[in-house]
């Protein structure tokens, strides 16, 4: 089966953008990746089993294209993450800190975490999407979350010591 482009854009543009942004950490690159991914879908005659299959394929292609972009144009990513996210209206500071720390994780951990948290994908589906073993997915999720916990605790400690110094 195949679905019309309008419908795919409507349903999955945000998912593809989010996945590409997770890898590139750059909105312009992420938009280019989404466009290239949809062009690839439109240009190919590939048939899919169902809509889930299409979504999984689109995500996989977008992530791979985003990885290509970061490899080829690494020099472009010279802006710090703080600069990139300063104009984003986050719901609350806790959400912003959490997102910053996810984006500061090594790429392989944050992609797995993105698919797990945002796409609600099961370990076996993440493994298929990234073409790695389920064991590797579990390892990436576990190490990623450990690192995240460690860094968020450090942030908390720094905040507290800042407040104590201010009080003192």
């Amino acid at each position: 089966m195949r679905l019309p482009l309008e419908l795919l854009i409507d349903r999955y543009q945000k998912n593809l953008f989010a996945a590409a942004y997770n890898v590139c950490a750059n909105a312009q690159d992420a938009e280019d990746v989404v466009q290239d991914t949809l062009i690839q879908y439109y240009s190919s005659n590939k048939q899919f089993n169902d809509e889930e299959h299409i979504k999984a394929w689109l995500l996989r292609v977008a992530i791979n294209k985003a990885k290509d972009v970061t490899r080829r144009f690494r020099w472009k990513n010279t802006v710090s993450l703080e600069e990139l996210t300063t104009d984003i209206p986050f719901e609350d500071p806790e959400v912003e800190t959490f997102f910053d720390e996810v984006m500061n994780l090594p790429e392989q951990y944050r992609v797995a975490i993105h698919l797990f948290y945002y796409e609600d994908m099961a370990v076996k589906d993440i493994a298929k999407c990234l073409q790695i073993s389920e064991g590797s997915v579990k390892m990436r999720l576990s190490r990623g979350r450990d690192l995240l916990k460690e860094r968020l605790t450090e942030d908390d400690d720094n905040d507290r010591s800042g407040k104590i110094q201010k009080c003192g």
Partner: protein, 197 residues
């Protein structure tokens, strides 16, 4: 708020502030450009194929050798018809086969070797088979990169370093092959160590 909820909320904020709505018509317009470009590439390839095929036919009239061999093509052991013609001091070959998806394929090439005294001689069938069986690096449309060598298939998409170089050891044969691959720029192999790019 759970970590999952925090992350989802953050991604929603990023998307609503940074993402611009795409139009299907733009995708279709850009796809047509891609098709035209692809068409050009195919036309060029067809010319080369035609010239190559004429060359092979001409050489075959002069007495080429045809043999049926089995070669590894992208991890599949494939029946191949190999036509070799020696044109003076160099060899031309055409390997014809049907790929896993049922499409007829041809690989053409040729070459020359130098003997001990520096005199040119045509490649032997064994040398041509060795060339055809050399590892192959394939860049897929979905962005993944694979190395095929014999029955061995290794994904190297995530193995390129910051300079676009990947080092991979293939262990499927009798002796290991150390490959140094430059992204989209060819590769070098050695039986004893990685070649420095």
């Amino acid at each position: 708020m759970t970590d999952r909820e925090k992350y989802k909320s953050a991604v929603e904020a990023v998307a609503s502030s940074k993402m611009h709505q795409l139009e299907a018509s733009d995708i279709m317009k850009n796809s047509k450009k891609t098709f035209r470009f692809k068409g050009l590439v195919i036309a060029v390839a067809a010319v080369i194929l035609l010239v190559g095929a004429c060359g092979a036919a001409y050489a075959a009239d002069l007495g080429g050798i045809q043999s049926k061999v089995q070669l590894w093509f992208q991890g599949e052991l494939t029946d191949v018809t190999l036509d070799i013609s020696n044109n003076g001091s160099y060899s031309e070959y055409t390997a014809s086969f049907t790929d896993a998806e049922g499409n007829p394929r041809q690989i053409m090439g040729g070459g020359v070797a130098y003997d001990f005294f520096g005199k040119e001689r045509p490649l032997t069938e064994e040398e041509i088979l060795e060339e055809l069986n050399a590892p192959e690096v394939v860049y897929e449309d979905d962005g993944s990169v694979w190395v095929y060598s014999g029955s061995e298939k290794v994904e190297i998409t995530d193995m390129f370093n910051e300079d676009g170089v990947c080092y991979v050891k293939l262990t499927g044969g009798k002796k290991p092959i150390y490959m140094t691959i430059q992204y989209q720029g060819g590769y070098a192999t050695s039986r004893s160590r990685y070649v420095t790019p």
